[in-house]
Subunit: 112 residues, 2 copies
């Protein structure tokens, strides 16, 4: 069975500033409270997750994550309100696109 | 300036059967009348173009290109009607999506 697929992202000067994957990374940090745990959840090395996060912060010019070091539980990471805002915007940006692309596929490839 | 980007393709069993790039390849063969010239136009090795083409033929179970060997001009390649049909369908599939995604970007990221 053939299925339509798509990917959606934002670029500035040819460089990715936001993508579905990067949104997953932010959501995984929100869910786990830790960059290390988020990297494990997405099955990428910690270093990759850290780099992508700092790239995003640099390219948007905003802080996305507040980290706490030490203390009980060994510190953690928490999204800033700006990161939460980016997540919400990206979801509105992509909302309904999957079903629209499926409908486009049905009307162009699935018949005739 | 941030710009929205997307990619669109079709898969069967996790394998790409059609994509914007593959459509460019077919169109380059149509335009140049040759797989070699099409590969040069897309700046990929001949072998890559040939493989992608044969993958597509195998995965769709149809002939996409008729090749002529020898003769005056040293042979050439011509799209079959089924290839032309796939190109037309893919364009209808993707038609207007770029401007829709731009409008989505404007209403979610460009303001506020």
């Amino acid at each position: 069975m053939i299925v339509p697929k798509f990917n959606l992202w934002l670029e500035r000067d040819g460089k990715v500033v936001l993508s579905a994957w990067r949104i997953h990374l932010l959501e995984a940090i929100e869910e786990t409270g830790s960059i290390t745990a988020a990297a494990a959840m997405l099955e990428v090395p910690y270093r990759r997750a850290w780099q992508r996060l700092h790239e995003m912060e640099e390219r948007w010019g905003i802080h996305l994550v507040e980290t706490e070091t030490g203390g009980v539980g060994g510190g953690g990471a928490r999204l800033t309100p700006k990161a939460t805002d980016l997540i919400a915007r990206f979801h509105r940006f992509a909302d309904g696109l999957e079903s629209e692309i499926e409908a486009r596929y049905q009307s162009t490839f699935a018949k005739g």
